[in-house]
């Protein structure tokens, strides 16, 4: 790990004060996506109208699904005198229009900066008998000046569990699964895996239906699906919590809270991308369930290894630039390293302080060959990538301009994907996800080889 280069060694490149083409979004966006993964819930931003609208637009462009986010719509008066009234009116209006079971109230830079005490305001609202029987109100502190959308996402999951989790009897075969921000297909696959181990899981959040829904005859105010509120209440009865993300180990999360408060064992592990990180996840499921990995998944693993062998020559020694949310980057680096691709640059706008060591931990064979950048942006990535001469980029649509500039392909994964269709259906996790990623990576390299050749090989 000591040979992994860190941010302090980046003196050869200009270090800008400004953020140029950000490689991150702001916290309330992550909170809104997480709240969308709770059954009957509606995200609500305490701040200006524009925040909700911009985030809706952004999320819609990826998922291509309705994404309603309410706002208290601050005006000048609420900014000066406090936004309590517009918060209350907002909650009342959302309740009468949507009849939600839960409203996730995320703050913004504006409400945080004016020092709004949202917890107290909500307490007063709930104490009023007139509001009895209304939706569950969950406050999440997500100032946009602090962290990234991932901080908002994790804060929302934690806030919901803190609010709803109650002491209860142990439920046999039950686990909590906090997957972080993964695709709708990933969520569906996780549910399948857990069920195959004869376990039941509270998967939180679960936007596999709410943000990847079906065509409808009549409009659903709040789309069907999501983690049931009753299930969230029962998280304290699980045999264990499983939480993905190596870069969130230092922070208080849903899993660490349930452990501290109710003694639920917390298994905090890397996002299972690639064989090795997935093996760790399956191994844990074997221990928790007391069952061997079902044949179906063993064969998927077997086919994956077989595919790795079939394709190894095409990818060995290739160089990739990886960017995105920190835990997505760590997972992708783990996968690339095990197939022989060097993730020469691992970059994120996040600043957990754990990215470099997490990347190092999952890429033992590549010591000293990876540059890791935390808190970076796309113009810095472009400048550094220019020197690193990658064969391809892997990450969200936001790297498109860098890939174009470098003249190398971009393999689209993660969030947001708004220049292609189907971002919500890309599978990243597990053996099945690794299989799809591997085929995609190999075929991208083959296509380049084919196109660059003057011969026009018709089989490769």
């Amino acid at each position: 790990m000591s040979t992994i280069q860190t941010i302090s060694q980046r003196s050869q490149l200009p270090n800008f004060v400004a953020t140029r083409n950000a490689c991150k979004l702001c916290a309330p966006l992550g909170a809104s996506i997480a709240v969308r993964g709770i059954e009957g819930a509606l995200p609500f931003l305490h701040g200006s109208q524009g925040c909700a609208t911009y985030m809706r637009r952004y999320i819609i462009s990826h998922f291509r699904e309705p994404m309603d986010i309410a706002a208290s719509s601050f005006n000048e008066a609420s900014t000066i005198f406090g936004g309590g009234e517009c918060l209350y009116q907002g909650i009342r209006n959302v309740t009468s229009q949507y009849h939600p079971a839960l409203i996730g109230i995320a703050t913004t830079c504006l409400s945080e900066t004016i020092g709004e005490d949202v917890a107290q305001l909500l307490g007063r609202y709930e104490a009023d008998p007139e509001n009895a029987g209304g939706p569950v109100l969950v406050h999440m502190s997500t100032p946009s000046y602090s962290g990234t959308h991932m901080d908002g996402f994790h804060a929302a999951v934690l806030a919901v569990v803190e609010k709803l989790g109650v002491q209860q009897e142990a439920i046999k075969g039950r686990i909590n699964l906090f997957p972080g921000m993964v695709s709708a297909s990933d969520l569906r696959y996780l549910k399948e895996i857990v069920a195959d181990f004869a376990l039941t899981a509270v998967l939180l959040p679960d936007y596999s239906d709410t943000l990847d829904g079906q065509a409808l005859d009549t409009y659903n105010k709040i789309p069907a699906g999501g983690t049931p509120i009753a299930a969230i209440r029962s998280t304290a009865g699980a045999m264990a919590s499983v939480e993905f993300g190596r870069t969130i180990l230092h922070r208080k999360t849903a899993a660490s809270f349930l452990k501290a408060e109710f003694g639920i064992p917390a298994h905090r592990m890397g996002t299972p991308i690639g064989v090795r990180e997935t093996d760790a996840f399956f191994h844990l499921l074997e221990i928790v369930s007391g069952r061997a990995t079902p044949e179906k998944h063993q064969s998927e693993r077997g086919r994956l290894i077989d595919a790795y062998v079939d394709g190894h020559k095409y990818v060995y020694g290739k160089r990739a630039v990886v960017y995105g949310e920190e835990d997505m980057v760590v997972g992708l680096a783990a996968f690339l390293a095990e197939i022989g691709v060097i993730p020469v640059l691992c970059a994120s706008g996040g600043e957990s302080g754990l990215l470099a060591q997490s990347v190092a931990a999952v890429t033992p064979e590549l010591e000293g060959k990876i540059v890791v950048r935390e808190g970076t942006d796309f113009m810095s990535i472009a400048e550094e990538a220019q020197q690193l001469a990658p064969d391809f980029l892997i990450g969200s649509s936001k790297g498109q301009s860098v890939a174009r500039q470098l003249g190398v392909p971009l393999i689209r994964v993660g969030f947001p994907i708004h220049d292609r269709i189907g971002g919500q259906r890309i599978l990243h996790l597990g053996y099945r996800g690794a299989q799809q990623l591997f085929d995609h990576v190999v075929n991208t390299i083959l296509e380049c080889k084919q196109q660059d050749s003057t011969i026009g090989y018709s089989y490769m």
């Binding site: 200009p14 800008f16 004060v17 400004a18 953020t19 140029r20 083409n21 950000a22 991150k24 979004l25 702001c26 609500f44 701040g47 200006s48 109208q49 524009g50 925040c51 909700a52 609208t53 911009y54 985030m55 809706r56 637009r57 952004y58 819609i60 462009s61 291509r64 699904e65 309705p66 309603d68 309410a70 706002a71 208290s72 719509s73 601050f74 005006n75 000048e76 609420s78 900014t79 009116q89 907002g90 209006n93 959302v94 009468s96 229009q97 913004t108 830079c109 504006l110 900066t113 100032p143 946009s144 000046y145 990234t148 829904g213 065509a215 409808l216 009549t218 409009y219 105010k221 301009s401």
Partner: protein, 454 residues
């Protein structure tokens, strides 16, 4: 309908079913889930296409992230506008103030990119933390020798319209600072076209053929030096009146430049726009060239439009757009394709706008101000439309219900302005309405079942 918010009921009007009244230009009700954005959005959309200027968002990262290269505003030269710069304020900056960071960011970016001007967008918290953005801009302007213009676009200080005004205020500081020596008497500025998918190039070409000089485009394919000499033009042609009327009015006051409101969408409005400009100059040669141009263009597009009209006749459409002015053109353009508008609404229409829409629309049409997803979905179901025209936020509402959709917002990639733009529009409407996929959607299937049962 019963579930609609009480405080919004006066913002919905059904022509023929009730006496005319509609509330508008109100602040969005909290919790309504308005489709509106904010003051910053208004400023950002107006100034964004100025391609040789540096645009820096002063505030936490979100506002810059969500507006990075999202529009289809094209440039024929520099593309500085497509980069996203932010001071990315953090917790410590919120406590200590962000002036130093803004100063440093401006200096380094101006040195690195050599822009002809810089726009500094102040977002929600900038005033609250006490930053004197004007002072920083003034200092950097003096040191770097380019205009550095503050845009006071704090999100909560009104609606998108206030953002337009803040942008126009910044622009009017540029207008009048350039030489007008090379400007001819037959000259115009194009205001309120943002060169989405190259639309302003189509319009510019028309004026060239008419023998009229285009001095400045505000702001599509915009350049700082052109804007500086905009006061030299004889006439301002203002499209999208919501965003640019402030500038047109201030230029009339300050420079005596008259303006005309025009629209380049649809063949009627497009021809009208060219004739309005021609009439202003009262020049027989220009008039003759204009007639010739309109005739040539119509000869090309009309036969094809007739064919689309034959197929689309009787289809029903819904429209929900930002500014109502665009809705007028869309209602007329759809009508020219044989289509009826069953719902029309806007985020920021004025009393006069809605009055004009009422006159324009058929009986039974729903007119709505500052609507939200639940209302729009229920209107689409009620009116059983074949097509919805709006922006990205409206698209999933239509698609979820198996209704065709056309993007008429800033993100579109098809030029819809001008005579050829009308042909593109017709083609897109046709593609959206006639796709076989609708026959597989639950809504269409249940409609068929109901019809069979009846």
């Amino acid at each position: 309908m019963s579930e609609f918010l009480k405080e919004r009921q006066r913002q919905v009007y059904r022509k023929g079913e009730q006496p005319y009244q509609i509330d508008c230009e109100k602040q969005s009700a909290s919790g309504s889930v308005s489709q509106r954005a904010c003051v910053f959005c208004g400023s950002r959309v107006v100034l964004y296409p100025i391609a040789d200027a540096l645009h820096i968002v002063h505030g936490p990262i979100g506002c810059a992230s969500y507006t990075w290269d999202i529009r289809g505003s094209l440039s024929s030269g520099p593309e500085l506008h497509r980069l996203s710069f932010s001071t990315d304020l953090r917790e410590l900056d919120v406590v200590m103030g962000g002036e130093k960071k803004l100063y440093a960011a401006l200096c380094e970016l101006i040195d690195a990119h050599r822009p002809n001007a810089a726009f500094v967008y102040a977002t929600c918290i900038v005033g609250i933390i006490g930053d004197d953005v004007d002072a920083v801009c003034k200092r950097v302007s003096q040191e770097k020798g380019i205009p550095v213009l503050p845009v006071h676009s704090e999100g909560f200080k009104g609606t998108k319209k206030n953002g337009y005004r803040a942008a126009c205020d910044a622009l009017s500081q540029l207008v009048g600072t350039g030489s007008i020596a090379d400007i001819r008497p037959l000259s115009v500025n194009i205001l309120g076209d943002f060169n989405i998918a190259g639309e302003i190039w189509i319009i510019r070409e028309y004026f060239k053929r008419m023998g009229i000089q285009v001095v400045a485009c505000l702001t599509g394919d915009g350049r700082v030096d052109e804007i500086r000499k905009a006061h030299g033009a004889a006439l301002n042609l203002v499209q999208c009146s919501g965003s640019m009327m402030y500038l047109a009015k201030s230029m009339e006051e300050k420079w005596g430049t008259p303006f005309r409101r025009v629209s380049y969408f649809g063949i009627e409005d497009m021809a009208q726009a060219l004739y309005d400009a021609t009439r202003f100059f009262n020049n027989p040669e220009v008039l003759e060239r204009t007639r010739q141009l309109v005739k040539e263009e119509l000869d090309v597009v009309l036969p094809q439009l007739t064919e689309y009209r034959r197929i689309l006749k009787g289809k029903k459409a819904a429209i929900y757009v930002g500014g109502a002015f665009k809705a007028f053109s869309l209602v007329r353009a759809l009508r020219s394709l044989g289509m009826q508008t069953a719902l029309v609404g806007s985020q920021t229409g004025s009393r006069e706008d809605y009055e004009q829409l009422r006159e324009l629309c058929d009986e039974g049409t729903i007119i709505v101000d500052d609507s939200n997803p639940l209302e729009l979905a229920s209107f689409l179901e009620e009116k059983d439309v074949d097509l919805f025209i709006g922006g990205v936020k409206e698209r999933p509402i239509a698609f979820k219900l198996g209704v065709g959709f056309c993007d008429h917002n800033h993100e579109r990639k098809e030029a819809l302005a001008g005579f050829e733009g009308m042909l593109n529009f017709a083609r897109e409407v046709h593609t959206s309405v006639m796709s076989p996929v609708w026959s597989l959607t639950p809504r269409k299937l249940s409609k068929q079942t109901k019809e069979c049962a009846a």
